[in-house]
């Protein structure tokens, strides 16, 4: 049965940039996400995509509005047990190795996985599990960033530019991973610049421009027989 796993209502976020001026990074965003969907947000640089994800996962607090995860506040421990987040350019404790890092991170969850080796194998890092993360390439860190999302058996995964810095094989593998998780009922919310990838995997596409969520609809409805890129550019132009 489909139900709303994320409820976002009138979400706004502004940052103080000087004593008497603020920057409105997000304005009145309201939407819901159903269980088992892949929802992607696209937008230009600085549009507010990363801010949206950070507010959704509770790293940043909204100026107004609220986010509910499974009917609980998103900064409650209950909600945090159900979600995972991969930031843009994920950073780790560079002195530790991948195996130790994931093993320790899994312990935070009530339902954490016991054998993180399997997760490392699934993202192609098993052979490098004992190397210090400081020696990892950007692509390897990106894959580890995704791997750390899986250690708590989450119901929802939030990903900020997850395909950035990956080679074509890595991107393909990760997309297959997303689809496999979706089959298992995991909800994925992501933002990305790589429109072709988003087009392939998303159930819903959200357009963010200047802090506003302009639309959230299915790829088919959004594109209306155009390429995603053309549809996106036209959408932004029409808004202006």
């Amino acid at each position: 049965m489909q139900y709303n796993i994320i409820t976002v209502s009138k979400l706004s976020k502004s940052y103080r940039i000087s004593l008497n001026s603020t920057f409105q990074a997000l304005q009145d965003a309201s939407f819901t996400v159903q269980k088992g969907q892949i929802v992607s947000f696209i937008g230009a640089n600085g549009a507010g995509k990363s801010t949206l994800l950070k507010v959704l996962v509770g790293i940043n607090k909204p100026t107004s509005g609220y986010v509910k995860i499974l009917n609980h506040s998103n900064d409650s421990l209950y909600a945090k047990n159900k979600i995972a987040f991969m930031p843009e350019n994920p950073q780790f404790f560079s002195e530790l190795n991948a195996l130790t890092t994931l093993t320790l991170l899994a312990r935070f969850y009530e339902n954490g996985v016991k054998d993180v080796g399997e997760i490392l194998r699934s993202v192609g890092l098993y052979e490098d599990r004992q190397k210090p993360i400081g020696t990892f390439s950007k692509g390897m860190k990106q894959r580890l960033g995704f791997a750390q999302c899986l250690v708590g058996n989450p119901a929802i995964i939030f990903l900020d530019e997850p395909l950035d810095g990956l080679d074509p094989i890595g991107r393909k593998e990760l997309k297959e991973h997303f689809l496999k998780l979706k089959e298992q009922g995991v909800t994925i919310v992501l933002c990305s610049h790589i429109l072709s990838d988003i087009d392939e995997i998303s159930d819903q596409i959200g357009i963010i421009h200047a802090g506003r969520l302009l639309s959230l609809t299915t790829p088919k409805e959004f594109k209306q027989h155009q390429s995603l890129e053309t549809a996106f550019v036209n959408h932004i132009k029409n808004f202006k």
Binding site: N89, Q91, F93
Partner: protein, 253 residues
């Protein structure tokens, strides 16, 4: 509890695998050699020099490492962005702050104990060291280091690593000069006197933990002095950690 232990474990691993840890081991070795060599040119005061120089040296090394490690581990964690790893996990702010503090404190205990043992075990090969005389100064010095770690955790929760280190270092120097500050500001006008009083009562009085300089003729302090010092240190640490939790909760990442 599991989350707290995991944060402590993670922090301890970060310390043990860091360059600062290895640097402290090498410096401890140098310190041990220096103390023994230095005592040789001390005209019959060898043991006194070893005790004074050894206690002061190991303490200063531990203070330096505690400030560097706290700022590095907490401050850089926030600046580099790996704070997101923990902030999105089911870890309450109180658990995170307490875990970081305890992890750093255990890590520093290992470093301090190692350098202390290296210096005094090394010296005891050549001289007869009275161990009962050096235990109390060591324990109180460690409490002082724990306070400095809590202060560093507090400053790291709302500022950068560098700024937190500078502020903690300032607290270290001010904390050892509180009596001087109070007497210098007494009868110097309402404003200065009030500032002096404010500083005196809000900053930690670190001189309470300093038995290092009186080691050669350690005063016969009553047992209650030690208990009150432990209670004072614990209260100050809890106060700093509570403020850190509030600051951390309010901070935008």
């Amino acid at each position: 509890m599991k989350a707290l232990i995991t944060v402590i474990h993670l922090t301890l691993l970060q310390i043990i695998k860091s360059k600062i840890f290895y640097l402290s081991l090498v410096l401890s070795l140098f310190l041990a050699v220096a103390v023994i060599l230095f005592s040789d040119i001390s005209l019959g005061q060898n043991i006194r020099i070893i005790q004074n120089f050894g206690l002061a040296g190991t303490f200063l090394l531990a203070v330096l490492i505690s400030i560097l490690a706290s700022a590095n581990i907490i401050g850089n964690e926030q600046q580099r962005g790996n704070i997101y790893l923990l902030k999105t996990k089911p870890v309450a702010d109180l658990t995170y702050i307490t875990g970081k503090f305890l992890g750093l404190t255990f890590g520093l205990l290992i470093i301090y104990l190692f350098s202390f043992l290296l210096v005094f075990a090394g010296a005891s090969i050549f001289y007869e060291i009275n161990t009962t005389q050096i235990i109390a100064p060591f324990v109180l010095s460690f409490l002082e280091i724990a306070i400095l770690i809590a202060v560093a955790v507090l400053f790291s929760s709302f500022s950068t690593a560098l700024f937190a280190s500078i502020l903690t270092l300032a607290i270290f120097f001010l904390g050892h000069s509180l009596d001087l500050i109070r007497s210098a500001t007494t009868d110097s006008g309402f404003f200065l006197e009030s500032v002096g009083q404010l500083v005196y009562y809000t900053l930690p009085n670190l001189e309470k933990f300093n038995l290092r300089e009186t080691i050669s003729n350690l005063p016969n302090l009553p047992t209650t002095y030690y208990w009150w010092t432990v209670i004072y240190a614990s209260a100050y640490i809890i106060f700093c950690l509570c403020l850190s939790v509030i600051a951390s909760n309010k901070r935008e990442w």
